[in-house]
Amino acid sequence: MGRTVAQKIFDAHEVARPGAGVRIISLDRVFCHEITTPIAINDLVSIGRDRVFDPEKIKAVIDHVSPAKDSKTAEQGKTLRDWTRRHGIRDFFDVGANGVCHAIFPEKGFVRPGYTIIMGDSHTCTHGAFGAFAAGVGTTDLEVGILKGVCAMREPRTIKVVLNNSLRPGVYAKDAILWIIRELTVNGATDQVIEFAGQAVSELSMEGRMTICNMAVEAGATCGICYPDMVTVDYLWSFIKEEFPSKEAALAAYSGFLPDADASYTRILEIDASCIEPVATVKYKPDQVKPVRELEGTKVDQVYIGSCTNGRIEDLRVAARIVRGKKIAPGIRAILAPATPLVCRQALKEGLIADFMDAGFCVTNPTCGACLGMSNGVLASGEVCASTTNRNFNGRMGKGGMIHLMSPATAAATAIAGHITNSELFK
């Protein structure tokens, strides 16, 4: 029987089989941020195991609350900062150099096809966009990852989602993944990997693929995976050109992690991508998705563009095109959080930041605290936010707040209109 992508990656990283259906795999990367790592660090210290398996394979960033908002978050930052210094972890991105973990780590070239990656963050599945196996874990798994460089995972079962044909103009990766989650439901891919295939996926940039894989966990998936191709190689080329004589050689090497033709899937979901239209969530689960046209006129108090889902340069370009030369509606607060310093610099260079500021947006430093109600854009009770983030859970952006998840294009159009509306109206 053929192997899926995740099975091939597990085969190449297997350390042990501690029981039926479980494998211990070695880790190529352990990513860390300041919310879930400090407790792991403190625990390792308290049990006399303040060590790291490999400081070169551990990457760390302060991203959720940056700069610190109070003494508790300052302590979290300090714990992470001191630990990276103590153990010679060179790739630590502190205030000023920091960005949203799932945007900055790929941008730095830390993710490669075939890698195994864990992080104490459920949206770690984002990195599967590069053909890697990347999974969110809790603090204890993170702790063992830091100490031993291994993690226990159940034998991967895989759902294949095939997006046939092309996305229509005005329809984006975010619409596609919300559409897919509605099909799968929030429990539809639990304990499974999703391979995203088909023409519409191969036509996406790495940014678009990261948006898709980012939300795989919202269907319960362990990881979302896209197949490495020339788009992947082009994105990585400046980091890998010393390793391969040519891009073709790199692609040939990475093709070892493509699924076999006779790989076994628990389900194959085929979707005609040309039928997907702009969508947004309603209520409190990410599978509660409706076409934007049915939500036309829904009032919002705040618009948020940013996060590990949609804070990358391509997202800012799309949104800036819509707000350029216009003003946000009276009574609306609009917030833009570029995901990394590089995204911010590039947006400045292209004049996008000016477009947003001229329109009335508040432009923040790269950080992601608004998404989970920790900082920089928290909602008051009863308020509604049109957001490019990934979770619309009750109270997620602030107690009593309500979130409609949508693409940057729809969010930008909503900021201008003052209510949810289709971005195509602003062309």
Partner: protein, 174 residues
């Protein structure tokens, strides 16, 4: 090993997420005990009052996909520091389930018919559970009724519970 016996809290809803179990604004706390007052404070469930309903409970019985969403281990910790070390559900979000076992807690999946039976027979009673981990079964009693349920648990998961969690298990082997 932890003690898995005691009074049952029934939460009659699917897809109860980690933000409902413990909101993100409390993730800046540096001890488990600090989470205790906030457990389930944002749960959407009619008639549920966390302070009143959590008191004295040791077991949660709920529906499908419990613990979906965030990777935060604060979710099992918030339950643990309220005395709840066992959750029984149709199924669990992967990270939440692994976090439970990694902490030496128990996450038991039962098929829908058994979960339905638990709710039907015992959710209106002052029900309690007695665990027999060695024989992979538990007994629920309440309102003059008594029922025994078999369950399955993987060898590795059981080893984690007996070892007291993943850190001590892994440290001894890898």
């Amino acid at each position: 090993m932890k003690n898995f016996n005691g009074k049952i809290l029934f939460l009659d809803r699917s897809d109860i997420n980690t933000d409902e179990i413990i909101p993100a604004k409390y993730l800046t706390e540096s001890t488990k005990a600090a989470l205790k007052p906030y457990c389930l404070e944002d749960l959407i469930l009619e008639g549920f009052d966390p302070k009143r309903d959590l008191a004295g409970k040791s077991v949660v019985v709920t529906r499908a996909n419990f613990g979906c969403g965030s990777s935060r281990e604060h979710a099992p910790w918030a339950l643990e520091c309220n005395g709840i070390d066992l959750v029984i559900a149709e199924n669990f979000a992967r990270i939440f389930r692994q976090n439970m076992f990694n902490c030496g807690m128990l996450a038991i999946s039962l098929d829908k018919e058994k979960i339905d039976a638990l709710f039907r027979e015992f959710s209106k009673e002052d029900a309690s559970l007695e665990m027999d981990l060695d024989n992979k079964k538990f007994t629920v009693s309440g309102g003059g009724k008594k029922a025994v349920f078999d369950f399955e648990i993987g060898d590795f998961d059981l080893d984690l519970v007996k070892a007291g969690g993943w850190v001590s298990y892994a440290d001894a082997r890898f």
